[in-house]
């Protein structure tokens, strides 16, 4: 049974969602407080969604300096599987564990709705349960989710297949204006680092894991086992 550490920052509000999603997928999961300095040797680390420090100044800008982040940096550097969901993704970018930044939605308003996503990378520790180019539907809920990155890095991300999930039309075709909820460049919804062990995305797999509701399209993000790649 693998151990999943969920880091709680003040203002995290999807911490329970991540914790119980991991448990539903058969992991032993536990919270780590942002002031701690030890992750208690987990197999997987998750930075959950929410509004760490109220998202004041910039989403993730303050949380990135929390004491626990040194341990998170080290864990990632050693190749540990690290997932950032929504605010977690924003923190990963602010901490330079992932390139680019997440800016105010193009429409300027907070957006809460289901989106269609194509899973373009299935060899990461968080997407190996999905089929290549599988189209799934997950909710987004954010005010600052417009992914931006410089030309050079963007080309590199695309060329090296580091777009993990992308907003698409319901039929899986290229996203139209309605399908891209925040105006992200190239309809990017989630990316990974060069090594593939650090993944961040704006949509919320952690909100689609409740069997009682028959809504489990997000469960796959929590099902991979360390060492496994390719589908289970």
């Amino acid at each position: 049974m693998q151990r999943v550490a969920v880091v709680r920052f003040p203002g995290s509000n999807c911490d329970f969602d991540a914790l119980c999603s991991a448990e539903r997928a058969g992991s032993e999961s536990y919270f780590v407080w942002h002031r701690d300095t030890d992750l208690k040797n987990p197999d997987v680390v998750i930075l959950p969604g929410g509004f760490s420090y109220g998202d004041y100044l910039r989403s993730g800008a303050i949380a990135r300096f929390s004491p626990i982040m040194d341990a998170v940096q080290r864990f990632a550097a050693e190749g540990g599987p690290l997932l950032g969901i929504c605010n977690g993704f924003q923190i990963l970018c602010e901490a330079h564990l992932l390139p680019g930044a997440l800016m105010r939605n193009a429409r300027l308003t907070y957006v809460s709705r289901p989106v269609n996503l194509k899973v373009e990378r299935t060899d990461t520790p968080f997407t190996c349960a999905y089929q290549g180019n599988q189209v799934i539907t997950l909710p987004v809920a954010h005010g600052e989710g417009r992914y931006v990155v410089d030309e050079k890095t963007l080309t590199e991300l695309e060329a090296t297949g580091r777009i993990v999930v992308r907003y698409v039309a319901p039929d899986g075709g290229p996203a139209g204006a309605e399908d891209n909820p925040n105006g992200s460049i190239n309809a990017i919804a989630g990316i990974c680092n060069a090594e593939g062990n650090v993944v961040g995305l704006m949509p919320h797999p952690d909100r689609m894991t409740d069997p009682a509701l028959g809504l489990t399209e997000g469960l796959g993000f929590f099902q991979c086992r360390v060492g496994t790649t390719g589908s289970l």
Partner: protein, 774 residues
Amino acid sequence: MSHSPSATGAPTRAFPFPGERPVTPEVVREHNLNELEYERILEILGRTPTLTELGVFSALWSEHCSYKHSKPILKTFPTTGPRVVQGPGENAGVLRLAEGWAVAFKIESHNHPSAVEPYQGAATGAGGILRDVFTMGARPVAMLNSLRFGPLDQPRNRYLFAGVVRGIGDYGNCVGVPTLGGEVDFAPGYSGNPLVNAMCVGLLKETDLITARAHGVGNILLAMGARTGRDGIHGASFASEELSEKSEARRPQVQVGDPFTEKLLLEATLELISSKLIVAIQDMGAAGLTSSSAEMAARGHVGVELETDKVPVREADMTPYEILLSESQERMLVVVEPKMVTAVQAVCTRWELDATPIGVVTDDGMFRIRHNGAVVAEIPGQRLVDDCPMYYPEARESERVKELRTAEPPHSGAGLPALDEALDLLLQAPSLASKKWVFEQYDSTVQGSTAIRPGGDAGMLHVPGTEFGLAVTVDCNARLLALDPYEGGKAAVAEAARNISATGAVPIGITDCLNFGSPEKPEVFFQFQEACRGIGDACRAFGIPVTGGNVSFYNESPTGAIDPTPTIGMVGLIDNVGDRLQSHFTQPADRIVVLGKARKGSLGGSAYWAEVLGFVGGQPSIVDLGAELALQKLLNHAAREHLLRSAHDSSTGGLAVTLAEAAMRGPYAVHGVGITVDLGLVESASETSDEELFFGEVGAQAVVSLDPALLETFLALAGQDKVPAAVVGTVSDVNENVSISRGETSITRPVSDLREIYFNAIPRRMKQGLSAKD
């Protein structure tokens, strides 16, 4: 200063705070206290009050805190039942569910602050209701909001609408509570006096329930959370007067919400309660420290002594008067045994919050305030809270309303627009159109348990670790109340119950937010009294209690009193979330059944007359509570048996709008579906005109769809439950026509056109993105 003993026998004495204005008749008037009330104060104290004491009285004796015009009427509500764990009188009502779980819920208004500053007004309204729920030991799991504005063609109304929605969203989204429902209505009467009602629903284990009763002489009072500033001083009395130039002038400094601190308060509070470290806790809401301390003491029949100079402040040299009446947000007052103080402070520190000792529980029943040692206020606590004079105002119905009830719309017969034209006009009226523009700005899926999101009838959530779920809704059709407050009050409860039942859930209780004009106007008090009678009768008929609520009077603007708007917040229980029903048609070839009857004269107060003919009048339908209850039972029964594929209640706009809504499907469905329906088959259709049949607002009506194979079983069930059921048509393929007919007359529109109209009605009007303040 005289020292003659007060009526309680206990001589009280207090010394004016240095520099404090002496209490003169003008000062008394400024504090919205009338002569009778001031006489009562003199009698209670046996002397002239200090300014600080006057401020304390004026806050606690404001309508908002004292319910001095409404208490006798509120007493007529049914408040008991097997599920009731906590009825009215606490921060929130509590109902028993199952497996040790209970639900706490409450609705509050924040109308006047939102009229002045829509963003902060609405945000702090959301913050306040969240605190009411988590101070009971419940974790907030759902929010709802009920909003009223003037027409969107006025820039000021667009500004208020946009600001309020953003304020509610930013606050609830940050704290991490999903918004599962609400309503928005637009009518001229709300220009200048918008309504912002926020409801919160929380889950707790019954064993964690804690009430706001101070006890244990010698126990310590801690101020927890944000520091105290000069925000919203006299907010409570501000909420209890009419908006005017004058109130603009004495507008309190705006309260600013900090949802981040709220989230920390929430977690710290729940940890303190579940670890049994505290005796009692209360949020510092309206009238801040004053009401929270005085009310906790009165409930526990003890006294309190506060040292205002110990209260952590945000600004230099604040007076005790300001500290007592400040409505700075995100603050709690906690009662703790002395030996627990350090443990409590440790929990707070972990959540990066301050918890500062500011007073003690005493045995002399006094509400006593010291500043730098000197007593600046000393008032018999029980009398301070309980002895505000009560008023029994005159109630008389306005002649204008009587006339309106019998009036007829301008055009008729040949002059009327074609039915499909009328349908378009209704679907693009902001009050009926999709509220997607609103609920897309609210996180509706955080906490991962959302079973039904906004966009259907009631919202629903799954209670984790159990099979059951809660359905939640807020409803009120003020147009009906304006014409007939008694039937309108019944109708509000009935519509809420239909929304709950349409999901398959069973109504278990309500909270109400009673928004009215000035109770000192006989025609307004008549509306209040009659509406409450209607609400009470409906609840008794449905066997559900009123567990609490909120009264908001003085909703008056230069254009006069608002339409009576008693918003009903209702909670329902579904034993198995797997049984839930959605409101939209799903499968081609499914049969469509109309439950309920058509009725002659069902256009009184209808959206059809108001939005299409520009006429507000007529006698609204008499609400048949027996038929409503039968419909509720049938829907719940059918959901259990998995007989239905969809159910949607029919209310504003009547059957044509209800059918169109179900056919258009949700905002994120790729396409709508076509339908072919013959309304001539609805029971008693023959007695009605086309307008009455298509757009009449009859009550006890719903539209369901189901697999043809289950039709017989379902019709048999409907027969047993004595609900008229007419098989009126079938669902056709995606993107086909919505065709609703009776004999020769029919509406035939491509569903894609209807979707275009219905989903863009509000975005189109709000395009400008940013609206000017006026």
